[in-house]
Subunit: 340 residues, 4 copies
Amino acid sequence: MANLNKIKTAVIGASGFTGEKLVELLLKHPRVEISYVSALLEKESSFADIFPRFKGRFELVCKNLDIDEASSKAEVVFLALPHRISLGIAPLLLKKKKIVIDLSADYRLKDTKVYEKFYQVKHTDSANLKKAVYGLPEFFRSKIRKADLIANPGCYPTASILSTAPLLKEQLIKDVIIDAKSGITGAGRKASLQYHFAHLDGNLYTYKPFEHQHLPEINQVLSHIANKKTAVRFTPHVIPAERGILITVYAQLTKALKSQAVTDIYAKYYKKEPFMRFFPKALPQLKDVIETNFCDIGFSLQGKHIVIVGVIDNLIKGASGQAVQNMNIVLGWDERLGLS
Amino acid sequence: MANLNKIKTAVIGASGFTGEKLVELLLKHPRVEISYVSALLEKESSFADIFPRFKGRFELVCKNLDIDEASSKAEVVFLALPHRISLGIAPLLLKKKKIVIDLSADYRLKDTKVYEKFYQVKHTDSANLKKAVYGLPEFFRSKIRKADLIANPGCYPTASILSTAPLLKEQLIKDVIIDAKSGITGAGRKASLQYHFAHLDGNLYTYKPFEHQHLPEINQVLSHIANKKTAVRFTPHVIPAERGILITVYAQLTKALKSQAVTDIYAKYYKKEPFMRFFPKALPQLKDVIETNFCDIGFSLQGKHIVIVGVIDNLIKGASGQAVQNMNIVLGWDERLGLS
Amino acid sequence: MANLNKIKTAVIGASGFTGEKLVELLLKHPRVEISYVSALLEKESSFADIFPRFKGRFELVCKNLDIDEASSKAEVVFLALPHRISLGIAPLLLKKKKIVIDLSADYRLKDTKVYEKFYQVKHTDSANLKKAVYGLPEFFRSKIRKADLIANPGCYPTASILSTAPLLKEQLIKDVIIDAKSGITGAGRKASLQYHFAHLDGNLYTYKPFEHQHLPEINQVLSHIANKKTAVRFTPHVIPAERGILITVYAQLTKALKSQAVTDIYAKYYKKEPFMRFFPKALPQLKDVIETNFCDIGFSLQGKHIVIVGVIDNLIKGASGQAVQNMNIVLGWDERLGLS
Amino acid sequence: MANLNKIKTAVIGASGFTGEKLVELLLKHPRVEISYVSALLEKESSFADIFPRFKGRFELVCKNLDIDEASSKAEVVFLALPHRISLGIAPLLLKKKKIVIDLSADYRLKDTKVYEKFYQVKHTDSANLKKAVYGLPEFFRSKIRKADLIANPGCYPTASILSTAPLLKEQLIKDVIIDAKSGITGAGRKASLQYHFAHLDGNLYTYKPFEHQHLPEINQVLSHIANKKTAVRFTPHVIPAERGILITVYAQLTKALKSQAVTDIYAKYYKKEPFMRFFPKALPQLKDVIETNFCDIGFSLQGKHIVIVGVIDNLIKGASGQAVQNMNIVLGWDERLGLS
């Protein structure tokens, strides 16, 4: 009864890191309930049997996906699926007039050729791709409000775009290099020796320099925002931590700038943003945003060079928290609902 | 040329945690060379391709096992194999007059029924089982000297037996409870969500209370040493660390004892032992034995109760270091060679 | 305006681990506001300057304590102070008719001689000590409802008592041994080489066997609940983790029991408890309670022996979450407010 | 007696991370003994009392420094002291004809003004500064052979210079940016909330962009090697790990290069180097050099851009291992002695 006026939501792909976190966030949200969860399972089981930490908090049976059931039970459907899988599911849900928030990369890249190169699969839904709205509220809020298919941004793009877009849009920096460091949950919940505690503890490594699949997403969105073709260099690293992304941005100023001017630019874009925090005199630390939807940004200047540091929780602002923020926008609610 | 007088050794099962560590220890050993390494591989490759950290240090090709080749190339053969596999390999090597040091459980339990219950497989080599010597030098050194098949002790048994045997043998304690804490390498190198960094970091859990497969090994050896049927209670835990075992032993004294008396008992057994360190006034910390072959022991008394704390590196004194120690004994060398 | 009907709270000692966590929990609580925070500071500063993670969430100035100001600004005052300090502050607040929830040990031990032995200081407030109610809701809820001074339990006692009290009260176990493992935040926020990352990472150690200051608290409360003098053996360990306590309890059954009977006993005591979760067929893992106010319990039987495993987040159910739970009870609210 | 022909060494400042590691390395070295250790102590004690892990391995009394005693007992003296302190000690030892290997920054910067700016203290020994040889064997081996004062390089400079010098010397790269990530031992053994396990676990942060004290050292040495004024941009980070440095270098090629050409350049400089390992087709991982004196390097090319990744163990190749390597060179020994 208490739930009569709550909006019903479904989480498809609830057994991955982002799906699990989404369930946790939605459970704390005052205006929604989770009425359907699915995952690829050997046996359908209570969500609390899959994740004992949900015992007593959320014991709905997690099912193998049935589109009709999902559609009949929920108005907002989150797809927390591996890339390539959403392509087959989103169109069916959209046909049934659901609001779809897709956490995969499937509707993020506007150029299907680029998508096909980086994700190694044919893009089969260009119709919906055209309508999909990139779910970065700080730059696309008005479009998100009217969207029924939201392409929720990747974790690296969220950190990278938010940290650099104001200066790029104002044409104040160039030659942008992004050195990104991420906790291991960014790689998804998979059994692999690469993710073994004994391999990662005390370790650190660089991977996919120049060619990470998030790079074209970063460049597409920054080019759009800056209204100018932008090609950053991007190199990710895995750190021995579970959560979080810290990016260190190296760029050249296109003209001399004082610290106050830099601060003013960020204020211009983020002053009213509920989840952007700017540190004019310090560099943000990763741990300060963990378990929050905040993106913290700081910088340091020297002559024509600037170093910008941005941090997010990859599972929250970089995935599930941003998805909830997008839902709040679509439904016309206070953006912060369930997120603080 | 430099190697002319070195003893040739082989490591079978070199891609697991103990095999890898054994290779590392043998490389530093002044009197042996590694002339053969094998593992279950999709493709035979240089050991340094499997483990880049060995680049420039050990680049022998790691092969799929060929008993004839192993036998022709080495005099001492280490089996760093999963339990149940050594049973098929050790007899063949022994027939070829090799010294076999088996790091699995296959020749540790004298009662094949107990073995079969805990390892869920038929024991097929009772002939060699009878001859196998339990490779715990502190208690079985004279037998090890003459052995050609050494059953290298498990990691939990090594810590448990060394910490309690002196007081048990002197009939000074009873009602022994062992609460064991181990780093994750004790579970072997396997891809599993259970070993995922994101699962283990910040976590801690108890497993197999009353029924860990190392328990009968502990009880068998302690009963033998104490010359009295001994049944300890044993409960292992996994801690968020890569390496090491710390055991906390709870027992009742059978008669009143002063601290000095306890110290004297341990001195009686371990004074001349090169790898036993006793702390009469402090409790040992796990990290102090990591990367060493030491077993550190301390204790605390209160009335009729004693708490004993013992620590080892599970991969060294609990596996590969002890295997090297056993080899040194069999070959009549200083027991510390290659281990300090 | 929005806060007109909110209860005003103060956190004294807000710069320690439990104070900081308390601020975080109170900020999420729908029916309170934090109107005063103090800590021992060189310079009064915004709470967000002390802890940047609170930027934009809580920027009240953290002051050096002024009892009059605290009293005038808040109705409920939390003391998150080192032991020995609350003794001087609680009486002043009580005189001003405040509800005081003390997270230190100062009002937990009913016998001042025991207090003085373990905390090495004279107990100067036996008047209030007599009135103080031990804030473990699962056993003292009705008294908490009427209390104005609540002695919030220690982290080890919370885990130890909740895990064993049902079986002790039913006189079903004896010879209780508690092997406790705690994350490092249990030791308080202090600069020390003992807490250095390089010391603790990959480490594990036992400390204060037989004589930890929480032991008399455990025994006092268990004796009271069981209505029988109870003396458990208690040995704590520090694990390489930030948060959480896992205790492993070893005990003897006083009569033969089946698993179902054990489950029934725990159900009798905890079935309606909002923060107690019992696992009849599995052992709880530490991480499943982190960032929650839950206490999870499981067990394993063998003959006359039982192993019980209990886990809590030391900073939440073991400190600040329990303090909020106690506040909810005193104020007649739903006990779960702000805690799920 | 066994030590009659061993060279006597002293470690001044043996209680810090690098001093402790140096003791460990020297103990394993076949041709030296440690005849004197000192540190700033409240009470002179056995080294094994300060560091229990040395029990039974090294129990020499660690003393408060007495220059005469140190000089009379050792021929080679290592200074593992905080910056600014070596300045007062090295001259006294040199006067007594000792070989001094200084692990501090005091004799690294040839320009005393730069030293004074970054270390905030007057440089009082320009006479010896002139004679001091920078102890990076890969580039200054012939000078090291004849030196009596060796300025052992900093950890960041070692990784930075080794990773970039070949391409800089060949004038093949420009616009060099170094993003460095270091384990916490790089900061020295100090009690501070900044180094608290609870602060660093799961954390990551940037510090001192543009102005780390190692930057002028990097630029001085690279300018010297490249024979051209070189000014890299350098930004360090602390990762949640105890040991190791990984640097990610971003640079522009001054002309088009194929991968093989890059490989050839590194081979030209490092082919015969015992501690340099080059990975032509992979990027090195941090953990592969931990507990070794290796520096591993890999790279990735795209158009005119190159990313170079270099890793070292900050306490070994970045400090104490390199110091031992320098000693081996000065004494005319095989450079690898005691280091593999």
